[in-house]
């Protein structure tokens, strides 16, 4: 029996050495700062999930870069932000999406669900702190193992295809303009009922915890953190409990400036679905958002007033045209 155990150990040892060496090499290569450096004029970093990924066109918002990614929980945003701030000292402000669904229970799945770990872990593992990895391992050990295997395989294929070079681009998010206009058809299908049925009750403790970590990180790095909420279609808005959302924001994040644009009215043809803007909506809203970003002293109340004025004008124009 001892002989078998020793033999297995000595058989696995070269494999382990190869795997650990290769993994270390991947981490070393992927951590090189040049992958994460922005242009010197970039001062504003836009972060969040698919809503700002689609809605914020950084070619319109001056001195800004959109690093939002669909399906991203704050757990992964935290790792991303740490690295980007470490490499880009010129960043002065971080604009972080803070919306109703980001406090919901679904964010637990976004953090340690199988599909999300398989998607996000390979992108962020080399920058993730050990304690953050332990969180994932504790919640979903199997998916972490699968994701580790995916990392090795993907990078091995990359190396073999590109003669010893890692050429696969690092994907940490960017503006994603969408073409679709599906709101009218979704309204006809009563899709909003489906959304309501699928909504899980409760809050995501882990997402709120990592949001707090982001707040602390920004303080330590001496960058301003600003929350923002994007326009949401009125039908979806009505399904949210605004009181609860507001109470959580005030309880945990009252010190953070909140640019609430949820009431910003946009026509159905500029939405992809009830929560995502298409390229037309993105261009229009980004122009508005640019005004907010350029005014560093703007307050939450001033944003609300701006939106009210803009909506009055918008509604007047709609009525006038009709």
């Amino acid at each position: 029996m001892k002989k078998l155990i020793f033999k297995i150990f000595f058989f696995c040892l070269p494999l382990l050495i190869v795997v650990i060496s290769f993994r270390t090499y991947i981490i070393f290569k992927k951590q090189q700062p040049e992958h994460y450096r922005f242009d010197a004029n970039i001062e504003n970093l836009l972060l969040g999930h698919s809503q700002p990924e689609c809605a914020l066109n950084d070619s319109i918002i001056e001195k800004s870069v959109n690093k939002c990614q669909g399906g991203e929980a704050y757990f992964y945003t935290y790792t991303k932000l740490k690295k980007l701030l470490a490499v880009n000292n010129q960043i002065k402000t971080v604009y972080l999406s803070f919306s109703n669904n980001q406090i919901g229970k679904e964010m637990d799945k976004w953090t340690y669900g199988d599909i999300y770990i398989l998607d996000k872990y390979p992108a962020y593992f080399y920058e993730m702190a050990l304690q953050d990895k332990c969180v994932l391992i504790k919640e979903n050990f199997k998916s972490v193992i699968s994701a580790e295997s995916k990392i090795l395989k993907r990078n091995l294929v990359d190396l073999l295809k590109n003669k010893g070079q890692f050429k696969e681009p690092l994907y940490w998010g960017e503006h994603l303009p969408l073409q679709h206009e599906k709101v009218d058809s979704l309204i006809k299908e009563n899709f909003i009922d489906k959304i309501v049925q699928q909504n899980e009750k409760g809050f995501s403790t882990i997402n709120i915890d990592y949001l707090k970590k982001i707040v602390v990180l920004c303080k330590e790095e001496k960058v301003q953190l600003v929350f923002f909420r994007l326009p949401i279609h009125q039908l979806l808005r009505e399904t949210y409990d605004e009181k609860v959302f507001d109470s959580i924001r005030r309880k945990h994040f009252d010190s953070v400036l909140f640019l609430d644009c949820a009431d910003y009215t946009i026509s159905n043809d500029k939405y992809v679905d009830f929560s995502h803007l298409n390229y037309k909506g993105a261009n229009e809203f980004s122009d508005f958002f640019n005004q907010l970003v350029q005014n560093k002293s703007i307050t939450s109340d001033e944003v609300k007033d701006l939106i009210k004025k803009r909506n009055s004008k918008y509604n007047y124009e709609i009525n006038f045209n009709n």
């Binding site: 029996m1 058989f11 050990f141 199997k142 699968s146 295997s149 395989k153």
Partner: protein
């Protein structure tokens, strides 16, 4: 849990350590651990399945104990029939209820008497076709006085539920496996290493060959109406290797795992695709099932005794039942019938017992004649697999129709060169190891350690590189 899963990768070492370090001093404890581990393994799919296997175990244990005490032939027959009815009843209900009901309705409707009946939403318990046959072999062998019934319930429960072979065989005979639970297993280093080697080869067959072929087989079969004849031929070929890699791979892992625990399971596959005729193929494919049918159906029906008519009748019954065992679909029955038709000429000309030895043993290549025989047998097998894989009879026929068109001579639209390369490597290794119990068996004695380990590392690398297209073991659905 699947053999090629992280769950099993954690489960096996834990059970292994407990087995050899904690329970090895006490036979009952060793057997009890097997029972507990097997029930955990089986319950991993669905805990509801445990009640079925427990009930089946209790019934057959009770029948065995009853047969021990009974001398009256009538009462012995009653006890045997209780076992048969319970086991086949479970199988019939879970596997065939909806099939029979559906065909019943179709038949009545055809004759102008439509009837309404609700289909039941029945989950097929994993492995039910395997363990019911295994426990039946116990009851029948005890009835025939070929085996002493056991009073040791734990040993019997371990025999029924033994996790390496519980869900997809080999279907073990009580006369072979049950006595192994009566003696404390002693660790054997050579057996354990051989077991690990066989597990490795089984994983290669499953993950590299079967799962990669499955991707293309599914692509072609699921859209067969839009592919050329040559592509459809490739689809049938991919399925041929998928089912072999899948099933024989599982058997290799099962046998290898059993060796780690000191058990010997029967061989289930003996390089069937190198067979020179269909009779040889059926002596080499799913050996545990074909011998089960031979011993418990063919021989009781009269077997080869009696005239040619009886032989033909019994042969057809076996192949049809074997086809039906695989699933509740007419395609399996047609597959069985096709194999019976393939077998018939050999039976009629008394050539069904040729080719008993390994083809071209000791030679590098087969002779021209042997090669041609292998090719023809392989072609017939591939053709029959079309029915096995098709969704229904009309799908099978339209698939075959699609092959025999002018597009048969065109270049296939699906040409995964990497898979062809893997298949060439695989069949070369299989051919080189065809004289052994499994392809890599002789590696231990023939190759020096650096070369041997280097080869293992290549296999492991290929497993790692080609995994990720995980497909469930095909035979789990039976």
């Amino acid at each position: 849990m699947l053999f090629n899963s992280i769950d099993f990768a954690l489960f096996l070492p834990i059970v292994f350590v407990l087995y050899w370090f904690v329970t090895n001093r006490n036979l009952k404890l060793q057997n009890l651990l097997i029972v507990v581990a097997s029930y955990v393994f089986y319950g991993w799919w669905d805990t509801r399945f445990l009640s079925l296997i427990l009930f089946s175990t209790l019934v057959d244990y009770g029948v065995g104990v009853g047969l021990l005490k009974q001398e009256s032939l009538t009462k012995r027959k009653i006890l045997l029939w209780i076992s048969i009815l319970v086991n086949l009843g479970f199988l019939g209900f879970f596997k065939y209820y909806n099939f029979f009901l559906d065909n019943f309705i179709t038949a009545f409707t055809f004759f102008g008497m439509p009837i309404k009946a609700g289909m039941l939403n029945i989950i097929l318990p994993v492995g039910i076709s395997f363990y019911t046959f295994q426990t039946l072999s116990y009851s029948i062998d005890v009835y025939r006085r070929k085996l002493e019934p056991t009073k040791d319930f734990i040993a019997f429960a371990a025999f029924v539920s033994f996790f390496p072979q519980l869900v997809a065989g080999p279907i073990e005979r009580a006369t072979h496996l049950l006595p192994q639970f009566y003696n404390k297993r002693v660790f054997n280093y050579t057996l354990a290493v051989d077991g690990l080697r066989q597990i490795l080869w089984g994983l290669f067959k499953k993950i590299v060959i079967a799962d990669n072929c499955a991707e293309y087989a599914n692509l072609i079969f699921n859209h067969s109406d839009s592919h050329s004849g040559s592509t459809l031929v490739l689809g049938a070929l991919f399925f041929t290797f998928q089912i072999y890699g899948d099933f024989s791979g599982y058997s290799d892992i099962a046998i290898g795992t059993s060796r780690l625990f000191g058990f010997d399971l029967m061989r289930n596959f003996a390089f069937p695709y190198f067979s020179r005729d269909i009779a040889e193929f059926w002596r080499r494919w799913h050996i545990s099932l074909s011998t089960w049918f031979r011993d418990y159906l063919y021989i009781p029906l009269g077997g080869s005794k009696g005239g040619m008519q009886m032989k033909i009748r019994n042969t057809f019954i076996i192949f049809l039942v074997s086809g039906f065992w695989h699933g509740a679909n007419w395609t399996f029955i047609v597959w069985g019938l096709l194999n019976a038709l393939y077998f018939l000429p050999l039976l009629l000309t008394n050539n069904n017992r040729n080719n008993l030895e390994v083809v071209a043993l000791g030679k590098l290549l087969p002779s021209g004649r042997e090669f041609l025989s292998i090719l023809v047998t392989f072609g017939l097998t591939v053709f029959a697999w079309i029915f096995f894989r098709a969704d229904n009879i009309s799908h099978a026929f339209s698939y075959i129709q699609g092959i025999f068109t002018s597009s048969l001579l065109s270049v296939p639209t699906v040409l995964p060169l990497s898979v062809f390369g893997l298949l060439a490597f695989f069949m070369t290794v299989e051919w080189m190891g065809r004289g052994e119990a499994y392809a890599l068996e002789a590696l231990g004695s023939r190759w020096k350690r650096p070369l041997r380990w280097g080869f293992y590392y290549v296999i492991i690398f290929l497993i790692f590189f080609f995994m990720g297209k995980e497909q469930e073991f095909i035979y789990f659905q039976f």
